[in-house]
């Protein structure tokens, strides 16, 4: 009996300090952020309690609304683009090709590079190289990043460039889990090409598909580095992501309290989306 207690105590000794650490640097700031959201705190100096004013403002603030629309639009489109591209790429890289491992290795490179620096490099590409190419082809020689219509596309492109690699790797490992005899059986039934993919491969890698969707969506909703490097939220505030707005206005704009309220709403949004996505893909998998 005593020995059991000893063991339990050891487990507690293992758990409690770590739990305390986690509480102090995750839950505590979360609570504090919640508390700040009821103040007009600028981050320094004195402040007053303003009740729910920040939340009321939040839902009337066009700029905040635009940033949510932009972020969600960007995240959804990027997630779709990335998943389609990486599935295609994964199928290609998994077929009988030469230099397989070298190609895989090279295609993964974008994923290990820092998003900020990649963003700076692409910034130059979009400002100088691409317009020149357009001009040569007789199009307008203006930068995509300067257009309220197209700047978000450029951001999607850069995000996709970096994220495709990761998802491809996951899909490849997914495709490899498909047993060979499934294909053999399919081949007897005459399954080829698109039909084979749709009826055999895709259902079997569905779990990987949902992993990728969740991973992508979450990452893209929190997009920050690419915005800083490419547009700084411009032109005309058309590419302000939620994280960027919170950082920019919360830290330097003197809206510490207001942006705390924004962050709380953002948090709620992330939780709802994650839970929805998980129950949805959970159901889908059960169906099969």
């Amino acid at each position: 009996m005593k020995k059991m207690n000893d063991r339990e105590r050891t487990y507690l000794v293992m758990t409690l300090p770590i739990l305390a650490l986690f509480f102090c640097f995750n839950t505590l700031p979360l609570i504090k952020g919640f508390v700040y959201s009821f103040t007009n705190f600028k981050g320094y100096g004195s402040y007053d309690w303003v009740g729910l004013r920040n939340y009321v403002d939040l839902f009337q603030d066009v700029r905040v609304g635009k940033s949510y629309l932009f972020t969600i639009k960007m995240a959804v489109v990027s997630t779709l683009v990335v998943n389609v591209l990486s599935l295609v790429l994964a199928l290609g890289l998994n077929s009988k090709i030469k230099f397989k491992s070298t190609l895989r290795g090279l295609y993964f490179i974008p994923n290990i590079l820092g998003a900020l620096v990649v963003g700076y490099i692409f910034n130059y590409f979009f400002t100088y190289i691409l317009p020149a190419v357009f001009k040569m082809m007789g199009g307008p020689g203006t930068s995509m990043l300067a257009s309220t219509r197209w700047a978000w596309v450029a951001i999607v492109a850069v995000c996709a460039w970096q994220s495709v690699a990761m998802n491809t790797i996951i899909y490849i490992s997914g495709i490899q889990t498909v047993p060979a005899d499934v294909y053999e059986a399919g081949a007897i039934d005459g399954a080829t090409g698109w039909f084979k993919f749709r009826t055999l491969t895709f259902p079997l890698i569905l779990p990987f598909f949902s992993i990728n969707m969740v991973l992508c969506m979450k990452n893209f909703l929190m997009v920050f580095d690419q915005i800083v490097a490419l547009t700084k939220g411009g032109p005309a505030q058309s590419t302000e992501s939620i994280s960027y707005l919170i950082y920019n206005n919360g830290m330097s704009g003197g809206q510490f309290g207001f942006q705390s309220a924004n962050a709380v709403v953002f948090f709620v949004l992330i939780v709802i989306l994650s839970v929805a996505q998980m129950t949805f893909s959970g159901k889908k998998e059960e169906q099969l």
């Binding site: 066009v62 307008p140 032109p235």
Partner: protein, 428 residues
């Protein structure tokens, strides 16, 4: 196994120790008994001159060690430090809304006991006072240099074509047409960096709107739709003389293009000259006051406190901080700064002004100047981005309507404060 664990522990503690050491370096302890003074200034383009001043100071002073930081995006960095309550001793900031916030937040020290203040032109001290939301007892900044904004032009190019300096709005437009006719780009904009949208805006605003329009609005006496319409229309008009895709290029690109003679004029402040000269050191640049009015006499130079030094309340050694200010305000230091940055001194002494200020000199000596309007705009309202949006959408009414609406929202606390003050002190 036990050995392995011990080695692991050793390794870990070694790493931890180095982390602690590293974090120790971060603090500003006194080096060999000297008093440490840290100055953070917000003008990244002045990095080099401040590096030289810092070196010079430390060479000539044994008791005080001065560190000057000039970070990129300094306001964000500075505010992050304020949030952290990690105060520098002195901050070098502009006379703008952030200064107003700092005064209101009671984090700046009263420097009215600083003897050097007497040598500053009173007009500039008054500008700073005007920036306080409500009159506050004391002086909180020592104005160092002012800048002037208007239009920079390529003097050689103007001479070559025999173009005249415009003094009225119509002349300016006629000139733009003429330049265009000669196959040259009249203006170049760096509107990808939103703050550059404010340069022509401010220059026109001092010509066309009352200097204290923001405070008038805060007191509920007028609105921007009325006061700003002409400015908006005229700023928009200028856009058509800029390069194709003005929102694709940033400030740096615009400076480079102007330096390379790709445009005849550049609506920006004197502060841009060092950047331009870094590309083309031999360029002959002059400037003129933005002619926003139809009557030449009504034009006013856009000039404000570009850099002032504020001592923080938390500064432990105010004497030492004053000694640093003394050094910075010494004639030679100021002249060094002026030569490098083409600025206008706030100190009441004879200085040699940069040739690029030739076209504005008479306004400076006559004192026909007014402060930048954007110094009164709350930063979270992002007026710069709003102007950029307006220039893209080109809808004057929508822009002005939003401006008025946003103004009331972002200034709500300030307006309430002003109302309270008026109630207590009677209307002025």
């Amino acid at each position: 196994m036990k050995n392995k664990k011990r080695r692991m522990c050793l390794f870990l503690s070694g790493l931890m120790a180095s982390v602690m050491m590293m974090s120790g370096c971060g603090g500003t302890g006194s080096k060999d008994g000297k008093i440490e003074i840290e100055l953070v200034q917000y003008k990244p383009e002045a990095v080099e001159i401040f590096e030289r001043l810092e070196e010079e100071f430390n060479r000539t002073h044994d008791k005080i060690h001065l560190t000057i930081e000039s970070p990129n995006d300094a306001m964000t960095i500075l505010k992050t430090r304020l949030i952290r309550e990690d105060y520098p001793d002195i901050i070098g900031i502009g006379g703008e809304i952030n200064y107003s916030y700092f005064v209101q937040s009671d984090i700046l020290a009263d420097v009215s006991d600083y003897p050097g203040l007497a040598s500053i032109k009173p007009a500039y001290v008054e500008i700073l006072e005007g920036l306080e939301f409500v009159p506050t007892e004391g002086t909180f900044g020592v104005p160092y240099v002012a800048n002037a904004a208007g239009v920079l032009y390529n003097r050689e190019m103007f001479k070559e074509h025999g173009w005249e300096i415009p003094v009225t709005w119509d002349e300016l437009i006629a000139l733009c047409e003429e330049i265009k006719g000669a196959g040259i780009q009249p203006l170049y904009f760096g509107f990808k960096d939103t703050w550059t949208c404010l340069a022509p805006w401010n220059a026109l605003a001092v010509d066309l709107a009352p200097a204290d329009v923001c405070r008038q609005v805060n007191r509920g006496e007028t609105n921007f739709t009325k006061e700003y319409r002409e400015i908006a229309v005229k700023t928009l008009k200028l856009l058509q003389y800029g390069q194709e895709g003005p929102f694709a290029y940033g400030y740096n690109d615009a400076c480079t293009a102007f330096a390379n003679g790709e445009a005849a004029m550049f609506t920006i402040g004197s502060y841009a000259v060092p950047q331009i000269k870094s590309v083309n050191p031999d360029m002959d640049i002059d400037s003129f006051v933005m002619p926003g009015n139809d009557v030449a006499e009504k034009n006013i130079l856009n000039s404000g406190v570009d850099l002032q030094f504020c001592v923080m309340k938390e500064c432990e050694n105010k004497e030492a901080a004053y000694e640093v200010l003394d050094f910075l305000l010494a004639h030679d230091s100021v002249q060094m700064y002026l030569d490098d940055q083409n600025a206008v001194p706030c100190k009441d002494e004879e200085f040699e002004l940069a040739p690029i200020l030739d076209g504005m000199k008479s306004y400076i000596t006559e004192g026909k100047m007014a402060d930048y309007q954007d110094h009164y705009y709350p930063s979270e309202m992002s007026v710069d981005a709003q102007i950029q949006t307006f220039l893209i959408n080109q809808d004057v009414d929508a822009f002005l309507e939003k401006f008025d609406k946003d103004w009331l929202r972002y200034n709500r606390d300030i307006i309430r404060m002003v109302e309270d003050y008026q109630k207590r002190h009677g209307s002025d």
